[in-house]
């Protein structure tokens, strides 16, 4: 089935439902914030949220009560401090209890790769002498059948839906990623459905390398044009990371009332059309 162009509201409503396992990826770069807000607005619940670096986007989803479980490898606001909504969910069970499954980056990167490759698990040289295998039953060790070497194994990641942001789609619905491409391609290919928000839809991509990181339209479910949709993260070639916002998030997230008021004002009473304006001051 070929990708369909949709509104963000339609894309989220048709690809994500209560109880799903969702990956929203983007390694500092191209984080699909506008789509995260739409999930909160639609009041979707009991999600298992997967993300290597659950920064502000998952702090918002967790604080808004969308998540029952988090699968992650580094949970912080980079260069700023803790994720206070995540921390409060883990330590105080607010707004409710949050189950966590914790890995290393290498494990998750391998698990996405294995998911994209149609494998049930990922095998790698990892977790040696580390304590996470004691507290995470999804980390096991297996023996190489050829050399006898002990190797770590984790289940592959195969989300119900993956949500990512990219720079461009063309009119056919093929998608182009540039810059720090993280695990976006693997996360989309590992998932049953996918939503890609893009900065713009163009007639054609012009002069790009034949080795550019792309997804063909038949490997994607929904495409939504949301200029600025990665704010406060960045989209290389469009706008820079809004580091000031990441710093400003800290006091907002520390306080339940401030957080709730922020969600009400910027998410419940906002929409994807608000994002372009947020990036104007930070043009790349």
């Amino acid at each position: 089935m070929v990708a369909r162009f949709m509104t963000l509201k339609e894309a989220v409503a048709s690809c994500i439902k209560d109880g799903d396992t969702i990956a929203m990826e983007g390694f500092t770069h191209l984080i699909p914030h506008a789509a995260g807000h739409e999930v909160i607005r639609q009041g979707i619940k009991d999600l298992t949220l997967i993300r290597m670096t659950p920064d502000v986007i998952y702090d918002q989803l967790i604080g808004a009560g969308c998540a029952k479980k988090l699968v992650f490898s580094w949970g912080g606001n980079p260069g700023v401090g803790s994720l206070h909504r995540l921390r409060e969910a883990v330590q105080e069970h607010w707004p409710h209890k949050l189950e966590i499954e914790e890995h290393s980056h290498a494990a998750m990167a391998n698990a996405y790769d294995a998911g994209a490759a149609g494998l049930p698990c990922a095998v790698f040289k990892g977790y040696r002498g580390a304590e996470l295998p004691r507290v995470n039953k999804n980390i096991k060790f297996i023996e190489c059948p050829f050399t006898g070497e002990s190797l770590a194994a984790v289940p592959s990641i195969r989300p119900d839906a993956t949500v990512v942001h990219a720079q461009k789609a063309n009119k056919k619905g093929d998608v182009l990623f540039e810059g720090i491409v993280g695990v976006q391609k693997e996360a989309v290919l590992a998932a049953k459905k996918s939503i890609i928000t893009v900065e713009e839809i163009v007639d054609d991509f012009g002069d790009i390398s034949p080795n550019a990181v792309m997804l063909p339209n038949w490997a994607v479910t929904a495409i939504v044009e949301v200029p600025g949709g990665a704010h406060p993260s960045y989209a290389q070639g469009y706008y820079k990371r809004d580091n000031a916002f990441y710093k400003a998030w800290d006091p907002i997230a520390r306080d339940r009332e401030a957080f709730t008021a922020w969600i009400e004002e910027h998410v419940m009473n906002g929409g994807p059309e608000d994002f372009a304006a947020k990036c104007r001051a930070n043009k790349a």
Binding site: T28, D113, G129, G179, Y246
Partner: protein, 257 residues
């Protein structure tokens, strides 16, 4: 007499540990400042790699996060994150991993996961990120961390990343054949592992610091090498380059809305 802070002393000492031909996997925070200082002073060809996939990056300002655009724009090449961890790190292509920690023991085992019990933590820290495999797959590991009794403890609450385990040849018992932590640079001194026992021993003390200062700020029984050196003070160029780097970084990060 050049004037400098203990943190500057630490960063400069950490930078000096890197060689021009090193390929270094850079942890965020203190390691990032040290690695870029090395590149901007004595090691211009030093290859810096960040886990966001940037290879051979030469940022003009320090990244706030490890995937800032600056890293990609100034890199020789940017690869996907699975390739970074599989081919480059796990494949054994990286000579030095440079890490920080929240808690450290005398064998260089690192905790960045929790303070207290894992299931009911006193403080939930960010977690391991790339560190568990950086610690075992890089040729050797340099650690940089401000010294305090809270951070330098007898027993860490959680082993996020393996150092020398329980000492001796314990590290190798996990099937790990890399050197592990070979240098610990703090704001007071430099420590290196004992050749047999692998516990950290003080090999160089920063000027103006006493043995008592080090003992008072360490949670384990500090051992000193038979011959302890005095760390050379930062030179004018190192300080100038470091301060300019921090000034550019502050300006770049505050210049945004």
């Amino acid at each position: 007499m050049v004037d400098y802070t203990p943190t500057e002393m630490m960063t400069v000492s950490a930078a000096r540990a890197l060689k021009n031909d090193d390929v270094c996997f850079v942890g965020i925070g203190m390691p990032s400042a040290a690695c870029n200082l090395a590149r901007l002073t004595h090691a211009p060809e030093l290859t810096l790699i960040y886990e966001s996939g940037t290879i051979g990056t030469k940022p003009d300002v320090l990244p706030l996060s490890i995937g800032d655009g600056e890293l990609c724009e100034t890199a020789m090449n940017t690869v996907a994150v699975p390739e970074m961890f599989r081919y480059w790190l796990q494949g054994g292509k990286i000579s030095v991993g440079f890490l920080g920690a929240a808690q450290l023991d005398k064998f260089g085992n690192i905790n960045t996961t929790v303070i207290g019990d894992y299931d009911d933590p006193k403080v939930r820290l960010p977690g391991g990120g790339g560190a568990p495999e950086i610690a075992t797959s890089c040729g050797e590991v340099f650690l940089v961390m401000k010294q305090s009794k809270r951070g330098f403890v007898q027993k860490i609450d959680f082993v996020t990343s393996l150092g020398h385990g329980t000492g001796g040849d314990d590290r190798a018992s996990y099937g790990v054949d890399t050197k592990g932590p070979s240098r610990l640079i703090t704001d007071l001194c430099i420590m290196e592992p004992h050749p047999v026992g692998k516990q950290f021993i003080v090999t160089s003390i920063h000027p103006g610091v006493t043995r008592e200062d080090i003992i008072e700020n360490t949670g384990w029984d500090v051992e000193f090498a038979d011959e302890v050196a005095q760390t050379p003070i930062p030179n004018e160029n190192e300080l100038k380059v470091l301060r300019e780097l921090h000034a550019r970084t502050a300006k770049a990060h505050e210049g945004q809305q």
